[in-house]
Symmetry: none
Subunit: 209 residues, 4 copies
DNA sequence: AATGAATGAGTGTTCATTCAT
DNA sequence: GATGAATGAACACTCATTCAT
């Protein structure tokens, strides 16, 4: 009997009500992603985000002290997501060259699992990083990590090329990815996402030839 | 012709103060450029723009009905500026290949006449184009014109390459320019503007080789 | 004619609309005085103050950047008022001893011109000075000035007493004035303002005997 | 009698956890004291008080229906504390004159056991008493009791002085205590607590001379 | 053409209070 | 008794826009 009670009931008074903060936080971050892709950061009001997440506005400030913190959490979530997507796309690919292409697919959201919403949100985040130092910090961290990963992959494909070959090519590719996303979002009809993305892949192949 | 213009202007109160609308409009647009580079579009309030232009807030709405109209005017002004800068940098260059490099310099704001302010403002405009249809329209027009010009230059350099060589390369270059500007503004210290821009030029040379 | 125009019309374009900021600011400060006497500072909301002043809430923030600035302006206005009231009550009094009593009357708001509203507001201000550094700064400045003035008056009445007689007595009187105001406001029925104030005057007479 | 108390307590679940309501209530009241001394009443949020007391916010409303009730309890606790401190300081003092000075020490929190926190909280309470009737009621009760006690002590020292000697002097002293506390808290650097308090004691000695 | 006061809808944020667990 | 998530009504403050002068 006693054992049953111990197993079924929380033992510590601190567990009188279990925390669901992590669940709520990710719900809120996801809602910001959706709203921001449509309206941008400034027009993504707490009210709109809350409605999207089906939560009350006050609750958002219970789980995040400031609106900006949701944005920062979103940047980290998106970086995580691309990381996982890359890992999944890489799965089984032993060739660095194919891993590189998988990388581009992951960030350009091509093929299955494509998410125009994420691409648009990432474009908005880039603009916010220009003017919000706190956002810039995390944005820079992500960019640095991606640059470093790209450099590593390139060096595996072309181990004999001296620097700054890998560094320059990595920067070019990242600029191209970023710019493709930007142009695809801002011009929609006239330059489809796939088109700009294909250009990046062509470039890569040519550069590594 | 000159007479016609004089006729179209009010004759009777000719001694009254001459219209300075165009002057004022460009002052206001210039002020938006400056403020927007620092604070983004939403935080570029009418009050801030007016203070920057040393004008009264009310006057801004005399010359522009809505804030968005200033933004649209700015997009056009920036396109004009790049056009003129390109024309000036091209001056004397008869070689299409050198014109192409001049083009990249003009848009990436390298060398003399570089203007980080314009680059930052252009990045902010790109983000606004994603969510404001009116801005997107002019933004698209500019992008289309630039794509077309780039395509033409490339075809002059490599007249024998079949499509979609020129189209793809033009798109790649524009994506790279856009992405370089974005990364330079949003990461400042870790990826200097010149670095990303140089990568674009390297890419161009390689592609045309 | 030209003269008439010059006289009747504003000459400088800067005067297209004359400023009424000073008028509005004092109206707002007066409204804060009234509302704060009744509800305290925190409960004196911008809405309440605006309604009291018959102005729109937005206008309050046009003339004062932050609510706290209204409070700081009120502290200065109250110090000014007591200064003027003291000057008026002193008028014709050549005797320092009578000036001292006039001083107490001025601050305790006795006799004609008494203003329970001002006394209550001053009590609230004292509490805010404890926790708001910006308010404390002006509050301290006022207290120091009053201490210094009191010390001077006492020294005129009793020029032969060595220090710290005047300093101590000045501090005692100010503490008494402050405490009388506090008790009168917070206990209303059981200790009328006049009662506590009379005690201060009795004390003064006795001390100077 | 003791038995009665035991009878009134629940007998059957006697082995269940014993009530700790009184402990919790005083912890909460103590936490309000600390937080209020720093931030004032309005800014002393339930969350802040709870954190200070190392309790959960919900628990505060279990022990006190409304925030104001904690404040009322604090007023009573502070009166009790001064009472006990006075009793302790009086201990062994048979002379009414020395008891009077002990009284001033107790309320002005001089010597050992001084507590700037309590003084500051008392100042905040005085301001709240002006605008909250429920607080005013308890505040008045405390003031009346103190006035009465002071009057009694003065009459013991000067039994032959006719009224309103004792009443007036008692009121003066209480005003001075109150005002000294106020000035000490609100001006900090420029008028130390001890200074203003000493003035009160000097005054008392002089008045009783 | 120009001014700057005025408005009101909307913003992020706070917070006492409630309540399921 | 105790927890901490949840609510909703406030709050100070912002801002594009209007308008009398």
């Amino acid at each position: 009997m006693a054992t049953t009670i111990l197993v079924n009931q929380p033992v510590y008074p601190a567990m009188a009500r279990p925390s669901n903060t992590e669940t709520r936080r990710s719900e809120i971050v996801q809602a910001l992603l959706t709203v921001m892709a449509r309206h941008g950061y400034e027009k993504a009001t707490i009210q709109l985000i809350a409605r999207e997440a089906r939560l009350s506005p006050g609750l958002l400030h219970y789980h995040f002290k400031h609106k900006q913190e949701i944005l920062v959490a979103l940047v980290e979530a998106l970086a995580d997501y691309a990381e996982h997507r890359f890992a999944r796309l890489c799965d089984g690919q032993s060739q660095p060259r194919q891993q590189l292409e998988a990388y581009l697919h992951a960030w350009l959201s091509l093929g299955e699992g494509a998410s125009p919403e994420r691409v648009a949100a990432w474009v908005m985040i880039g603009a916010e990083a220009v003017r919000q130092p706190e956002v810039r910090t995390v944005y820079q961290r992500v960019i640095e990590a991606e640059l470093s990963r790209l450099r590593g992959l390139i060096q595996q494909v072309q181990p004999h090329k001296p620097e700054p070959f890998a560094s320059t090519l990595a920067a070019s590719l990242l600029a191209m990815i970023t710019g493709s996303a930007q142009l695809a979002c801002a011009t929609r009809d006239i330059m489809p996402s796939a088109y700009a993305a294909q250009a990046a892949i062509d470039y890569l192949r040519q550069a590594l030839a």
